[in-house]
């Protein structure tokens, strides 16, 4: 045997060395896991730190909806707003109108004139005229 030669690592570790290192790693992982679990147990149901605190007695300011229709700016954000702004509707081509009859009067029926009033009265989906004491429409 050449006693002057440097001993070379043969690629193996002693069983004691491997066991010792492994125990250390397992212990470290265990500690980290326990720390994470402890932290989660303390905070899992807490609000995010940046969330604004809501006072129980804080008054709520309401504002009426902007429409009685379905789309309301707070209920349903207008996703197509940009498209709406740039959409150009074709010109509604209609022939000129004849002059509107304008008899003296202060309400719609008077302004509509006799022909239009008669046409409106002739609408056949009206209810039968109710008897006295059972009006269905404010006759004013």
């Amino acid at each position: 045997m050449d006693v002057t030669a440097q001993p070379l690592f043969d690629g193996t570790f002693s069983i004691d060395a491997v066991a010792s290192t492994a125990h250390a790693v397992v212990a470290q992982l265990h500690d980290e896991a326990m720390a994470t679990i402890a932290a989660l147990a303390d905070t899992w149901d807490q609000p995010v730190e940046d969330a604004p605190a809501v006072e129980v007695e804080e008054p709520v300011t309401y504002r009426e909806p902007d429409t009685w229709s379905v789309a309301d700016e707070e209920d349903e954000p207008p996703a197509e707003e940009e498209e709406d702004e740039v959409r150009v509707l074709p010109v509604l081509e209609l022939p000129p109108l004849r002059l509107r009859p304008r008899p003296a009067g202060t309400n719609v029926t008077a302004r509509l004139g006799a022909a239009e009033t008669a046409a409106a009265d002739a609408a056949t989906d009206e209810f039968a005229v109710p008897g006295e004491g059972r009006r269905q429409f404010v006759a004013i």
Binding site: Y62, D66, W68, I140
Partner: protein, 275 residues
């Protein structure tokens, strides 16, 4: 054959956008084959008369809102123009009176100054601590009892029918379901059957028509049968369209539902559907 659209809004309603147009709505109605349509503009009050029931109930105001009065002169001009331009279409004037039982004197004063062909009655708001609040907001208020609020809404609707004879057609009688928390698909009609029946009984007893509203989720055949069983005689179709292209929306489907519930076209194409 499609029925008339008895519930349409135009630029004369405060809650329509810049694309709303009475004349365009007429053009669309002709295009889709409607025989008639009624422009029932919103008649909502932000101030009211001492003689109104709202005053007696201690209501002070609404929450901040955008409601505006109808420009009745320009509206009348435009209705006239529509009749001139679309002779093949029957064009009715109208209003959709909001909470007419609370504003009887104010509604009457408006109609006296500007009579119309059609008057719808609607309940959009409920009193909350002396102020009116839109139910589409109310349903989403913190801690609100949603089912209890819906029951309260339908109970208030019975009061509306009993205390106001100003309207001919009851519009969207379950308006809040459009805004149901969690989505309109989660609304269950059967939960409120008893309250629906009370509304229908009161309406049928007063001889007025029930609107099938096609902006709201379409009713089930069963719900319309409740109306029929409670004596309901007349059904009105309303798109509640706030834009021209929505006039007559879903009418084919709505007609099927109404027909299955036992109603038929009235005496002519302009009439309500009847039992």
């Amino acid at each position: 054959m499609l029925p008339p659209d008895n519930h349409v809004h135009s630029e004369f309603s405060w809650d329509t956008g810049p694309r709303a147009s009475l004349l365009r709505a007429c053009a669309h109605a002709v295009e889709v084959g409607l025989p008639a349509l009624a422009f029932t503009e919103h008649l909502d009050f932000t101030v009211w008369d001492a003689a109104d029931r709202a005053t007696a109930q201690g209501l002070k105001d609404r929450h901040p809102a955008n409601q505006l009065p109808i420009d009745v002169d320009l509206y009348a001009e435009t209705i006239w123009e529509a009749r001139e331009r679309f002779p093949q279409l029957r064009v009715w004037s109208g209003v959709e009176a909001g909470e007419p039982h609370l504003f009887g004197a104010s509604v009457a004063a408006h109609l006296q100054a500007a009579p119309v062909d059609r008057v719808l009655g609607s309940l959009h708001s409920l009193p909350v601590d002396g102020r009116l609040m839109g139910v589409n907001r109310l349903l989403h208020a913190p801690g609100i009892d949603v089912v209890g609020t819906m029951r309260r809404y339908l109970t208030e609707m019975v009061a509306m029918i009993e205390h106001s004879d100003a309207f001919q057609v009851l519009a969207h009688c379950d308006f809040p379901r459009r805004y149901w928390p969690g989505g309109r698909d989660r609304y269950v009609e059967a939960v409120f059957e008893e309250q629906y029946r009370e509304v229908f009984r009161a309406l049928a007893g007063s001889g007025r028509a029930l609107e099938v509203n096609t902006t709201s989720p379409l009713w089930s055949v069963e719900l319309l049968r409740w109306y029929r069983e409670e004596g309901g005689d007349a059904v009105s179709f309303g798109s509640d369209g706030h834009q021209p292209h929505l006039v007559g929306q879903l009418f084919e489907l709505a007609v099927d539902v109404v027909e299955q519930a036992g109603f038929r076209p009235g005496r002519d194409r302009f009439d309500f559907w009847r039992r």
